[in-house]
């Protein structure tokens, strides 16, 4: 039985170049609760991969603390045996047969399940006798995902691992992930910019933007941050008096507003009477709104 690992970044800064260069992570803090599927979302260059490489102990932060299962993971063999990072590159020996590679993982990962790995290879149509170098991009991505799942590591990290896969294979991967996660609970971090596809998988969400933490909370709390209302322009604009408007779309007599916060029961009743339709805002749309907010600290620095 696996005990899921939690992870925590506290005030972490990572600089790759000189001190004057912009930091890849700039005083970032977030928590990954043990046993959750946590989504790590952000635009390209937001710092997702840097943050994940800290959890997998591929590097140390310039400053700040990284904890995995309560300890600094760097060069800690016991904790690191329980952390599996899958990157899109696969991190797999290109010219070694897949069968041999699976043998390495069997020795490396205490919870490795070889039978499960073989079943997945079969499902994703990857021939274990071949070498990854001979595989298509999609199959190579699938192989990385298979290694990630079959490791059953207490902290398993998929860093955009499945981007090379086509849509049917990605959905097959999500299904396998949910299936195996319910049977073998563990902590899973999934980073992606295909937010719409994966947002329902998440219990918690961390959003990074330009090297900073934008959000670190439950997916339900995040979804309560905004609400969408559509209806006759005059009625809709009244709702805007008590809420900050994040986005407006006019459709000739009809207006769609994205409002910050959630509506009070009395507001919901009034809105329904006025023919206003209330809808949830997807995490994808929230992410777009939140990452467009001006950053006061950055503005000051200029």
């Amino acid at each position: 039985m696996t005990t899921p690992y939690g992870a925590e970044l506290t005030d972490v800064t990572v600089r790759y170049g000189r001190r004057t260069d912009e930091a890849a992570l700039d005083h970032v803090s977030f928590t990954v609760r043990p046993g959750t599927i946590t989504g790590l979302l952000g635009r390209n260059g937001a710092g997702k991969s840097t943050a994940l490489s800290l959890l997998a102990s591929l590097r140390r932060p310039t400053s700040g603390t990284v904890l995995v299962n309560g300890v600094d993971p760097f060069e800690d063999a016991v904790v690191m045996a329980g952390v599996q990072l899958v990157r899109e590159s696969g991190d797999i020996l290109g010219d070694t047969s897949i069968n041999e590679t699976l043998g390495y993982y069997d020795e490396l990962r205490p919870h490795w399940d070889g039978d499960y790995a073989r079943a997945l290879l079969d499902q994703f149509d990857v021939d274990p006798r071949t070498t990854p170098a001979k595989l298509s991009r999609g199959k190579k991505s699938a192989l990385g995902c298979i290694v990630g799942l079959a490791s059953r590591a207490p902290l398993t990290i998929f860093d955009e691992s499945y981007l090379g896969m086509d849509a049917p294979s990605r959905y097959a991967f999500y299904d396998a992930l949910l299936d195996d996660y319910t049977d073998h609970p563990r902590t899973i971090v999934v980073s992606s910019h295909l937010i719409e596809e994966v947002e329902r998988l998440f219990e918690d969400v961390v959003m990074l933007h330009r090297g900073r933490t934008l959000v670190s909370e439950t997916a339900d709390a995040l979804r309560n941050r905004a609400v969408s209302v559509v209806g006759p322009s005059s009625a809709v604009s009244k709702l805007a008096d008590d809420h900050r408007v994040l986005a407006t779309r006019n459709l000739g007599g009809t207006t769609q507003l994205t409002l910050e916060g959630s509506l009070e029961p009395a507001e919901i009743a009034l809105a329904r009477d006025a023919g206003i339709e209330i809808a949830r805002v997807s995490i994808q749309d929230l992410f777009i709104h939140l990452s467009q907010e001006p950053d006061p600290m950055k503005e000051d620095a200029r």
Binding site: D175, L178, D179, T182, R200, E203, V227, I278, A279
Partner: protein
């Protein structure tokens, strides 16, 4: 599925309540497991578990150790009673308001009900369409 304005776990709970009322989930029948919900609708298992927790709190479903979740005895009657109590205000009144708005006289509504004392006929096909 589950694209409404409420959180997904509220929508799942609503769906199960509706299935209990309609008889699709009879009393003492087994409810889909958290795992089945999660994989069928591609949602986080904790989301499905939250829906079940609400229904267990309401006494509509019960957990049988090692077996799963089952519809509680009396769940159907209780839900039907609750819905009857609010039917006139929540369902019938808006329908009458619509009729008023469209200028359909009350006498026509009453006549419609009188014509079909037992069951309602199949919905009428709009004019110009062929069956």
């Amino acid at each position: 599925m589950f694209d409404g304005p409420e959180p997904i776990y509220i929508q799942i709970a609503d769906q199960i309540r509706a299935q209990i009322v309609s008889g699709d989930l009879p009393e003492e029948s087994q409810v889909m497991s958290t795992t089945q919900y999660a994989t069928t609708f591609r949602i986080n298992p904790a989301t499905a578990a939250k829906a079940f927790a609400i229904l267990v709190d309401e006494g509509l479903i019960e957990k049988r150790r090692g077996l799963g979740m089952f519809v509680a005895v009396g769940a159907h009657d209780r839900l039907v009673k609750e819905r009857r109590d609010t039917y006139l205000e929540r369902v019938f009144r808006p329908a009458v308001e619509q009729a008023d708005l469209l200028g359909i006289p009350r006498s026509e509504l009453i006549a419609y009900l009188d014509e079909h004392p037992e069951t309602l006929p199949a919905p009428r096909v709009a004019e110009g369409e062929t069956r």
